[in-house]
């Protein structure tokens, strides 16, 4: 028995692919997932700041105090001095989670005792889970600041009228009346210009495209594994002896998997729509170019893996690592908004992140065909790169 244990350990130690799967893969996964979720687990003192911008269109004391108060927050990284359009663009570009707009006339509303109103400009694809608590906190902060500002201004006015008893009495009467009617601040949320959509992504609009993208990439190991089997079993060798050009053999291997990938997206999106009522956006046809480009990228990556791997176990080991790590980095498992900035930046360069973001653009923000073409082009470019790297190394026979 000991001899068998010894032999088995020896065999396992010499199987690098299995060792990588057993040890390196979980280490990578732990690292990526821990980094991705670090925002969710950080303590108040260590949490990274969330980016927002404040547009002060009023310029009054209350508005300035609001800017000052929010700017001093440990949880926020505030950009100020922007025009409404500039703030709008930052939200649209994903640089800020949202913008706070203090409109002109805010000060007068504070002074008059009417409910002062301000607005948020929010990316419609932002997670409610992340944005809602923060908006509530900001509403509360604005209320506190405007309330104290109002009190301070009132006192200042009363002090100024100290030597005019009639004026002082009038002011006190006014202030008492305002105090009786004061009932806080109001706010509304809007989307940046050019972005449509009436709601935040639902759990299905995150999970269905997220896991669809992740599972489309599982075709990488399935396809590469199938190529390895054809090499091992000699079916490629047999086909090479037939009067069929090699490029046809290669396409004959790649195209069916591309079709499967496209079908996979179709079936899973339909599943989301029919079972969970998931909204596909106002231009669902825009999902098509993303789907095709995503499929091309996945099969090209499969071809690349089959070109470099020397055995089926290497295909499984390397493929699993690539798929899971890219899925985690790309925000398929954890919404990007929960990730630190640098992870969100990385996600933008992964095929998973690009595809997921493009899907959500269509489903949540109502993006049309033209809007998703850059992301589709990026995925096709990656597919071309993988293909160019794979083909010179590709071997039909062992």
């Amino acid at each position: 028995m000991f001899a068998m244990i010894r032999k088995e350990l020896l065999v396992l130690l010499r199987d690098r692919a299995s060792l990588i799967t057993l040890f390196v893969s979980p280490m990578l996964f732990i690292t990526v997932m821990s980094l991705a979720l670090s925002n969710s687990f950080d303590t108040l003192g260590s949490a990274p700041k969330m980016n927002i911008s404040i547009v002060d269109q009023d310029g009054g004391i209350a508005a300035k105090n609001v800017v000052k108060a929010l700017g001093g927050s440990d949880e926020l990284k505030v950009t100020t001095g922007l025009s409404g359009d500039a703030a709008d663009k930052r939200v649209r570009d994903g640089k800020d989670s949202f913008a706070v707009v203090i409109p002109a006339g805010f000060e007068k509303e504070v002074e008059s005792g009417r409910k002062p109103h301000f607005s948020f400009v929010v990316d419609p694809s932002s997670s409610r889970q992340a944005v809602d608590p923060l908006q509530a906190a900001i509403r509360s902060a604005v209320l506190t600041v405007t309330s104290s500002t109002r009190t301070a201004v009132s006192l200042e006015k009363q002090r100024a009228a100290e030597h005019d008893p009639v004026r002082k009495a009038q002011l006190k009467k006014q202030i008492d009346k305002i105090d009786e009617t004061w009932s806080g601040v109001t706010s509304t949320s809007t989307f940046p210009k050019g972005m449509t959509g009436v709601k935040y992504p639902s759990v299905y609009q995150q999970n269905v495209p997220g896991y669809t993208v992740m599972y489309v990439f599982f075709i990488v190991t399935v396809m590469a594994g199938s190529i390895m089997v054809e090499r091992r079993e000699g079916t490629f060798r047999r086909l090479l002896s037939a009067p069929v050009p090699r490029w046809q053999l290669l396409l004959g291997k790649v195209v069916p998997y591309l079709m499967v990938a496209v079908a996979q997206v179709g079936v899973l999106m339909a599943f989301g729509k029919l079972v969970f009522g998931m909204d596909l956006g106002v231009h669902p046809v825009a999902l098509v170019p993303i789907t095709v480009a995503l499929g091309c990228c996945a099969v090209a990556l499969g071809l690349l893996l089959a070109s470099f791997a020397k055995s089926e176990s290497q295909v499984n080991g390397m493929g699993t690592i690539v798929i899971l790590v890219l899925a985690a980095l790309g925000g398929c498992m954890v919404p990007g908004v929960f990730m630190p900035d640098f992870m969100q930046d990385i996600a933008g360069f992964t095929p998973h992140g690009k595809a997921l973001n493009a899907f959500q653009e269509v489903m949540v923000k109502g993006a049309d065909l033209g809007t998703v073409l850059p992301a589709s082009g990026f995925l096709l470019g990656l597919a071309a790169l993988f293909f160019v790297l794979a083909v010179p190394r590709f071997r039909f026979v062992k």
């Binding site: 079993e233 000699g234 060798r237 047999r238 002896s241 037939a242 009067p243 039909f396």
Partner: protein, 337 residues
């Protein structure tokens, strides 16, 4: 499928369907195939013989278009392979060493798929598949998954897949590895039938000598990527004489014998080519490639009577390809490269 071509007599020069000259294939700095030349005549069964790792499969891969040679030329039916690979490939059929089939598909589904590579019409395809299944004797199991077949049956489907386009030249790379005697006989019968009925030429690769002896008109022996010998069985075995006689006296017998092994060697000097080899137990073996077996046996009998040497250490061997390979390389063919 009704054409009948009479089997050519061994050794008769025929129109060549395949000619390869100076084939070279290197992997890194190592030449796996190093200047191999061979030819296959119409209706000829050529045995391509060599131990594992001798370069047989690499040579076959080049001859069938799966690998590009680093040197040398290949002509199929008189035309350069490289100049018209698709035309050349349409003339050849390949039965790889592996069971090159899709195990989850049935035999008929496999054959339908491979027939598609040869652009046969639907009717032609159906007819050829039925014929190929009949040739290998698997018509009644055609609908079963290949994975459910025995090893021998899988080998037979493997052959059928190479016959669908009626090739002029069929490559059979180790077609009987791991099959039972019944399937092996069936494969032999198939090969002979293809040659006899359709004039198909066959390149039969194996490291099983008896198979090659039984089937092949001509034989090419390779080792370390080079051709060691080529010819008909008769031509190849002629230098080996009438047979092989080995005499391994015991240590006590040799001690008793005045002059020892040297004396014995001298007694057989005129009987053929003699070598003396060390045996594993410290004794020696006298090996004679005999010219005239009856005369040599008479000499053995006289020596035994005169010296008291026992005959228990004597072994007689008929000249065969195994002994030829041993003679050419000093190794048994199954020792490997």
């Amino acid at each position: 499928m009704t054409a009948t071509v009479t089997a050519p007599a061994a050794g008769v020069r025929m129109d060549d369907v395949l000619t390869a000259t100076g084939l070279v294939k290197k992997f890194g700095d190592r030449a796996v195939v190093d200047g191999v030349s061979l030819r296959v005549g119409t209706g000829e069964i050529l045995g391509f013989l060599g131990p594992n790792g001798a370069g047989k499969s690499t040579t076959i891969a080049m001859l069938t278009g799966a690998l590009k040679p680093d040197g040398g030329t290949i002509q199929v039916d008189g035309a350069e392979f490289a100049a018209g690979p698709m035309r050349a490939k349409a003339l050849i059929g390949v039965v790889p060493q592996e069971i090159a089939l899709y195990p989850t598909l049935s035999a008929r589904q496999n054959l339908t798929f491979f027939a598609g590579a040869y652009k046969l019409s639907r009717a032609e395809r159906r007819e050829r598949i039925d014929w190929a299944l009949d040739v290998v004797g698997l018509t009644d199991r055609a609908g079963d998954k290949v994975a459910s077949y025995s090893g021998g049956m899988q080998r037979r489907v493997n052959i059928a897949a190479a016959l669908l386009h009626m090739p002029r030249l069929l490559f059979l790379d180790e077609p009987t590895v791991g099959v039972d005697a019944q399937s092996r006989n069936q494969i032999f019968e198939t090969v002979l039938r293809l040659r006899a009925e359709f004039g198909m030429s066959v390149v039969y690769t194996s490291h099983y000598m008896p198979e090659v002896e039984q089937l092949c008109d001509r034989i090419v022996i390779v080792d370390h990527g080079k051709v060691l010998a080529e010819g008909t069985q008769e031509e190849l075995l002629r230098p080996l004489g009438a047979g092989l006689l080995e005499w391994a006296p015991t240590r006590e017998e040799l001690d008793r014998l005045q002059g020892g092994m040297v004396w014995l060697e001298k007694r057989f000097a005129d009987h053929g080519q003699i070598t003396v080899a060390a045996a594993g137990d410290g004794t020696q073996v006298l090996r004679i490639r005999v010219k005239d077996m009856p005369a040599t046996l008479r000499e053995v009998s006289e020596i035994a009577a005169g010296t008291g040497l026992g005959l228990g250490g004597i072994r007689l061997g008929r000249p065969d390809l195994e002994s030829l390979f041993l003679d050419l390389t000093g190794r048994q063919i199954r020792d490997g490269a």
